[in-house]
Symmetry: C2
Subunit: 241 residues, 2 copies
């Protein structure tokens, strides 16, 4: 196991594995893949799709319609699995792209079936990760469909902040923040101009600030009440790498 895997595993938000499971997981790993910011990890229409675990950096899954609108479905953090849906359903109608430089753990997708046969606990973990990702998409759908602009932005900032903190429990109110306003807009179903104005409004209210690719949350409570944020206690999650 390399450094990144070791670091993540020791975090409270990740699950422990038995020695036997770790051995199998290790055998599952093909190689590390490093990609620069902006590179495609999974591209629409390209099959077969590889199976990865994101080990470092941020990524996002998105889809573009003929009308030119891009919808970002979810943001991916270390520990998230990439390409599961595409492998299982044998479809590939959306893209996964690196938002920052990323490190990926490429898994041997040929052995996915063996995993189900030999390690039911890991199979269960994969289903868990799938359900977890669905929950995040659920939350995003609620956000886009049932909140206004201001609430959406507040929710997104808080959501990303919480997820980052769960993986990197650093002190302070600031986290790295690689999103452009265009990406925020595409995640929230808002126009770029309106996203900008909304961000400025929140900032003038003293709730947050974004400088130098870093997000600082000044008033978490206020943001939470604005967004009607419901805290979801995240249980220790499995890590496949």
């Amino acid at each position: 196991m390399d450094d990144l895997s070791q670091y993540l595993r020791q975090q409270a938000s990740f699950k422990r594995n038995t020695a036997e499971e770790l051995t199998f997981i290790k055998a599952l790993k093909l190689r590390d893949v490093h990609l620069a910011a902006g590179k495609m990890i999974i591209e629409e229409g390209v099959t077969p799709t590889q199976l990865y675990t994101l080990m470092d950096g941020w990524a996002f899954r998105h889809q573009t319609l003929k009308n030119g609108n891009r919808q970002i479905l979810n943001f991916l953090f270390p520990g998230d699995i990439i390409g599961l849906q595409q492998n299982l359903l044998d479809i590939s109608n959306n893209n996964v792209q690196a938002l920052t430089p990323v490190t990926l753990c490429e898994l041997n997708r040929q052995q996915l079936w063996q995993l189900y046969e030999k390690h039911p606990a890991l199979a269960y973990d994969i289903t868990w990760l799938c359900a977890q990702e669905e929950k995040i998409v659920d939350d995003n759908l609620v956000n886009v469909g049932a909140r206004n602009g201001l609430e959406r932005v507040a929710m997104l900032l808080l959501h990303l902040y919480k997820r980052y903190k769960a993986i990197y429990p650093i002190p302070g109110k600031t986290i790295p923040f690689p999103l452009t306003q265009q990406e925020i807009a595409d995640a929230l179903g808002l126009s770029l101009a309106h996203t900008n104005k909304t961000l400025r409004k929140l900032e003038k209210l003293g709730l947050h600030s974004i400088d130098n690719n870093a997000l600082t949350i000044y008033d978490e409570h206020m943001l939470a009440s604005l967004a009607d944020y419901y805290s979801t206690p995240i249980k220790p999650r499995p890590l496949l790498c």
Copy 2:
């Protein structure tokens, strides 16, 4: 195996199982549950959550914010599993409700773990169903976030039409349609009034009609191009009941 299970299994859109798997699945079933239209199947905050397979009728999963807006996350058809996310993640922040009278196959959730240990193929199926449900939520998120009102309505009508036809391959252009306009609105993130006006507009264009809880699609091609509908060839799906 009862009638409903038998009917679904013989449809092209459902997968075959081995005799051994069928025996195990049969043992997994606790009982049939019948609920009237409008009844809650899974209620927010109520734990533990049962695990069901929807065998007959329509249902929907939804969530309501403090601002009063309800977001419908997805509609459920026969074959869909209900309560998996809640059981796996141990959360229950959304509701599942019957849209028509429904028949549910209640599964023994205590044996879920045994299923993973003894029947990897079925475990794989469950993950598949989870990924499939995520895909539907993905599609809904794209719909709500990246399309305008007219496109959203066109997409929803077509989507429901296709899903219904996949399960009940009846001839003709008409399917039962139990949704109220309020439910359409809540699924699409639109207001009731605007949903109504948009439906009427599509109807005046001769693309569809809704009468007596039945939807007729007159111009599938036009609706598809309006909505930028991308057909997703659905592979035979597993059935757990």
